[in-house]
């Protein structure tokens, strides 16, 4: 496999950055502990049943997605809202731009949504001089800094208070303040004005509830509530896979989501929104739009074997528990979604050959599958993707494995090959080598030896020992 297959330099850079390393490891470590406390046998005795139920409900919803999308639409319209179907990010942006123009809105407030990240919504709107202000504190900071989110749940995981202080001084003109509480209050003050002045509020949706025509948005800060309640127009953007059939399915999903993500039994705010304000209500938007986004989801849906990739409820638990993510961090994954879930959906969205190294960037430890609240079998999907990629890989690698399989089905030659290797191997005291100049010509060995000693084949293999034993020959 060629050097260019793996973005080695990139990854080496991430690993060498000590500060980043400790930040990621510590933050994910905290989230791991919090989740563990929240799903323990005492805290959530029916955790495994909940996972099983969630998996089952998601499977049903996606296996019957057309019916539920239609039901969702019918109910949204019945409550006075409108549904906007968008195949691509460009269509979403066009819709918003047109609506903003019609309503004379030049300020938009937005709460966190990975879906909008996926379609580069902010960039598209900015291109047309429409400002969409991020209101989630971490996202707001990133927007000021012009950076991408680092983690599904903790976007500004990598920023320190010093960087935030510098940023606020430079971009907001406030006096430099290192106290985190004050920094937060500054953001609150600045953003409060935006909420109250904005013409349009855009949120994502954690769930789309088919039998209610509702979107469910969970958060801890209150910015999604403000975004969906203060401006006269609320637009909720969601991938079509976010559907669940019934409002009564929510307890299962909400219990799993908060606990898996941050160890919270419930997030601070859970909003169940089903349309514009109704007669008799004091507040709420006059107009309510749900944007249903495809953007490749129908492609994933079509592969029944990998369809469970779409069950994801974006909790981030797989990222937190992934030993690879904990080492290389979110910015080193291509595409919008990082960590184990990113490793299985990005190849499906972008085509497996776009980043052929991605499904291989895993030791298949299985920690992700163990913690996934909807029981997506991520290791199985990684293996399946590797198989898809191997079909178009280098003939040398295929040849090598083919040769190995041939040897493995011809035991006497296999045994002979083993003895030859043992005889040719350099002698090493206590069986390990620091250096092996001949072997280091081959990438496989060079890479191993760069940072680890390598064991030499045993003088006498187990099979030889067994044969000698049977003959009564000395076995000591």
């Amino acid at each position: 496999m060629s050097e260019s297959f793996v973005p080695v330099e990139h990854l080496r850079g991430a690993l060498a950055d000590q500060r980043l390393q400790s930040a990621i490891y510590a933050a994910t470590g905290r989230l791991i502990e919090k989740r563990a406390g929240a799903v323990s046998a005492e805290a959530l005795p029916d955790y495994q049943q909940l996972r099983e139920q969630a998996h089952r409900v998601k499977r049903h919803a996606l296996d019957n997605l057309d019916t539920y999308l239609e039901q969702l639409e019918e109910n949204i319209i019945a409550h006075g809202g409108r549904v906007i179907w968008c195949a691509t990010g460009a269509e979403v942006a066009d819709f918003i731009l047109n609506l903003a123009k019609l309503r004379g809105a030049n300020l938009i407030v937005k709460s966190k949504s990975m879906t909008t990240e996926e379609i580069d919504l902010n960039e598209r709107l900015e291109h047309h001089r429409l400002e969409a202000v991020e209101t989630d504190l971490g996202e707001y900071i990133l927007q000021l800094a012009h950076e991408r989110p680092y983690h599904i749940v903790a976007p500004a995981l990598h920023k320190t208070r010093y960087e935030v202080a510098d940023l606020f001084t430079a971009r907001l003109g406030v006096e430099r303040d290192l106290v985190i509480e004050n920094q937060t209050l500054t953001a609150r003050r600045v953003l409060r004005e935006r909420f109250l002045a904005a013409g349009i509020g855009i949120t994502g949706a954690n769930f789309l509830v088919a039998d209610s025509g509702a979107v469910v948005v969970v958060e801890n800060e209150g910015n999604a509530r403000l975004t969906s309640s203060a401006p006269p127009v609320h637009i909720a953007i969601a991938g079509i896979e976010k559907i669940i059939p019934r409002a009564q399915d929510l307890p299962v999903f909400l219990k799993l989501l908060g606990r898996s993500a941050t160890g919270q039994p419930l997030t601070v705010y859970t909003s169940f929104l089903s349309g514009p304000r109704r007669p008799g209500e004091m507040d709420g938007p006059e107009e309510f739009y749900v944007v249903l986004l495809d953007n490749g989801r129908t492609k994933l849906l079509a592969d029944a074997d990998k369809r469970e990739s779409l069950y994801c409820i974006r909790c981030g638990a797989c990222l937190n528990h992934c030993p690879v993510y904990r080492k290389i961090g979110g910015h080193n994954y291509p595409g919008t979604y990082s960590g184990p879930i990113g490793a299985i959906i990005t190849p499906q969205y972008a085509g497996v050959l776009k980043h052929p190294w991605l499904p291989f960037a895993s030791s298949l430890c299985g920690a992700c599958a163990e913690v996934c609240p909807v029981k997506i079998d991520i290791p199985r999907l990684l293996l399946t993707l590797r198989r898809d990629i191997a079909r178009s890989r280098s003939w040398t690698e295929r040849l090598a494995f083919g040769a190995f399989a041939w040897l493995g089905t011809h035991p006497r030659l296999y045994s002979l090959a083993g003895s030859i290797a043992a005889r040719l191997a350099p002698r090493a005291k206590d069986g390990w080598l620091r250096r092996a100049p001949f072997l280091s010509r081959f990438g496989v060995f060079r890479k191993w030896l760069s940072q680890r000693d390598i064991p030499v084949p045993a003088r006498r293999s187990f099979r030889k020992y067994w044969r000698d034993r049977a003959k009564g020959a000395p076995t000591a």
């Binding site: 080496r12 030993p323 895993s362 030791s363 920690a367 590797r386 198989r387 191993w448 680890r452």
Partner: protein
């Protein structure tokens, strides 16, 4: 008086690189009264090919394995990852093959065999010193092997088991991952080694030789005198 025959699948790594593990395992089995049988035609379970996406090649090795062990009542393996390959993934590779589907019921990771089939925790072993145990990923998560090895180690005379805080974290081997993503793999090993150092144990024990190879390779390079031993080797010590 024998308790029955057991066919050992030593794994290609143990056969060619760490034969002492296979020797230790068969000694323990014999000590417990089993007749251990090594079928010479065994080679490799095909996991490296399978994990790298070469499923046709893996399938050939799987069929060979099935042929070699077709009539074995118990297949015992000193490796969590190879056991998981045989017991779970063969069925995936050969969905229409009934032998592959029922292989799981007669394939045993070594410690699981001791606890659940031999029903023994004290194998009469002696091993002095502080030891820490590394849970290999396949054993832990696919085979649910966690308490078994600890119970076995608890009965080894003279052994002091110290839990490391990162016992369940991956060592970074992952087969070809260790080479394709060598930098990340070694960073993972370093985290694991730091955790081992905190226990001040002088031996790391695991049920998988590949994990031990990864950890030992990294520890030797770092000049650390910590020794690695397979669970079978500890249990064979007297």
């Amino acid at each position: 008086m024998t308790r029955g025959r057991v066919a050992v699948f030593v794994t290609c790594v143990v056969d060619q690189v760490f034969p002492a593990v296979g020797i230790a395992m068969t000694e323990v089995l014999q000590r417990l009264g089993y007749a251990a049988e090594f079928r010479e035609r065994q080679t490799c379970c095909g996991q490296p090919a399978f994990n790298t996406g070469y499923w046709d090649e893996a399938r050939r090795l799987a069929r060979h394995f099935l042929e070699v062990f077709h009539d074995a009542e118990y297949i015992v393996i000193p490796s969590g990852s190879c056991t998981s390959m045989v017991a779970h993934h063969f069925a995936q590779l050969l969905p229409n093959n009934p032998a592959a589907q029922q292989l799981a019921s007669r394939t045993w990771e070594f410690s699981k065999f001791l606890i659940e089939v031999a029903k023994v925790e004290d194998v009469g072993a002696r091993f002095e010193g502080p030891v820490t145990y590394h849970d290999s990923c396949h054993a832990l998560r696919e085979l649910h092997v966690h308490d078994g090895p600890r119970r076995l180690l608890a009965r080894v005379r003279g052994l002091e088991l110290r839990e490391m805080d990162a016992a369940a974290e991956c060592c970074g081997f992952g087969g070809t991952f260790s080479v394709k993503f060598a930098d990340v793999s070694c960073a993972m090993a370093r985290t694991k080694i730091d955790s081992i150092l905190r226990t001040k144990a002088d031996t790391v024990v695991s049920a998988d030789s590949s994990c031990l190879m990864q950890l030992q390779g990294a520890m030797r390079r770092a000049g650390l005198g910590i020794r690695t031993m397979h669970l079978a080797e500890v249990l064979a010590s007297q």
